[in-house]
Amino acid sequence: MAVAAAAGAGGELRLLGTWSSPWVIRVRVALGLKGLSYEYLEEDLASKSDLLLRSNPVHGKVPVLLHGGRPVCESLVILEYADEAWPGVGPPLLPSDPYDRATARFWAAYVNDTFLPAFRALFRSLTEEQRAAAFENAVPKVEALDRALAECSKGKPFFGGDAVGLVDVALGSHLVWIRAVNEVAGTNLLDGARFPGLAAWAERFLAVDAVREVVPDAGKVLEQYKGFRAKWIAAAGSTSKST
């Protein structure tokens, strides 16, 4: 496997990220699937590095992939870039047929623009009322993704078919956070009884080597989430019961 050679083609790779960001995990999974080696640089978002601010002046966010010093920003843009800059290195994240590519892009965009905002409301909810409303709003989005899995996979293990694809990475990278939120909120967003297809897919995705190697420890994510909530609760001056 031409790992070093692949990374060398066009220059060295560096990834600016934070250890628990699901958007950073997306990129790490993709680079791992392609067997590309890179230097990982942990950012402190409370005190962003000059390199980050220079590399992503528009958004100032992670992930940023630097290839031969040139920055690529926005996780889905980076994923498509990885496919195109290293063609033939590992299985492609996107299929070759134009209609199938449009379908994959549609569901990746759905994850970003429809599912994640709904999940974020659950993630940020502090009271029982907010939780209930957010959960109710998020379930139809999970239903849509469960149907999408059936359509896209056509009985194969992943949205991408036999191999992990764009949609698998886009959604799967958030699983560790979905589980943390479920635990704290007492909800079951990817209910195995209700969504057996999606639940089984989640297990398969998390078992993939390139994924296992980069997904952060569930306990640490849970701890970080509890820390965030404690801060939000203190800020809101909330008196409601919460974990």
Partner: protein, 225 residues
């Protein structure tokens, strides 16, 4: 299959800048298509069947199969009809240039339309905030363009297709924000003029005064002064 007809059909709404992205792309590629104006207050069976997830325009039907989301449609047009009649690709060949084009198209999607909506819908402090953000967005685009002819450099491409329809909205933003895009972002205005010289853009953009009229109509409906 959602529809039954062979060839290309576009489900669209006359003033939609998102729909216009698709019209520009189809025109750039010299692709004939059937334009089907949609009544968004009373959505057609065809639209609801073709885009059950979002129920929105634009939707491109290719031999009855639907493609949804404007930027996804533009990429589909580029990939399904490569080098048709010798027409150039909308996305450049170089992977890094493609990433830059996708980044700027995504930036406009994330920022421009929503900020514009807040600018014409809201009043007082909230409108001032929207005005501030709009100026920042336009200046960022002006900076990204730099001294380039188009966002992609020498050739009109994907990012230009993504952003050009919003130039018809500059007048509406100016009147609600009380600023001049030309004064704040001269390069962006020069770029808008260059785009407007292309047939694909000229024949598919709504005249700015008509966009303004449309927004005034929307405001009346929402009971906004």
């Amino acid at each position: 299959m959602a529809g039954e007809k062979k060839g290309l059909q576009l489900l669209d709404f006359w003033v939609s800048p998102f729909g216009q992205r698709c019209r520009i792309a189809l025109s750039e590629k010299g692709l004939p298509y059937e334009y089907l104006e949609q009544d968004l207050g009373n959505k057609s069976e065809l639209l609801l069947r073709s885009n059950p997830v979002h129920k929105k325009i634009p939707v491109l039907l290719h031999d009855g199969r639907p493609v949804c989301e404007s930027l996804i449609i533009v990429q589909y047009i580029d990939e399904a009809f490569p080098g048709k009649d010798g027409k150039p690709a909308l996305l450049p060949a170089d992977p890094y240039a493609r990433a830059q084009a996708r980044f700027w198209a995504d930036y406009v999607d994330k920022k421009l339309y929503d900020c514009g909506t807040r600018l014409w819908k809201l009043k007082g402090e909230a409108q001032q905030q929207a005005r501030k953000e709009m100026l920042e967005i336009l200046r960022t685009l002006d900076g990204a363009l730099g001294d380039g002819k188009f966002f992609g450099g020498e050739a009109f491409g994907f990012a230009d297709v993504a952003i050009a329809p919003f130039t018809a909205w500059f007048l509406t933003y100016e009147r609600h924000g009380e600023f001049s895009v030309e004064e704040e972002c001269p390069r962006l205005v020069a770029w808008a003029k260059r785009c407007g010289e292309r047939e694909s853009v000229a024949k598919n953009l709504t005249p700015p005064e008509k966009v303004y009229e449309f927004i005034c109509g929307m405001k009346k409906r929402f009971g906004i002064e």
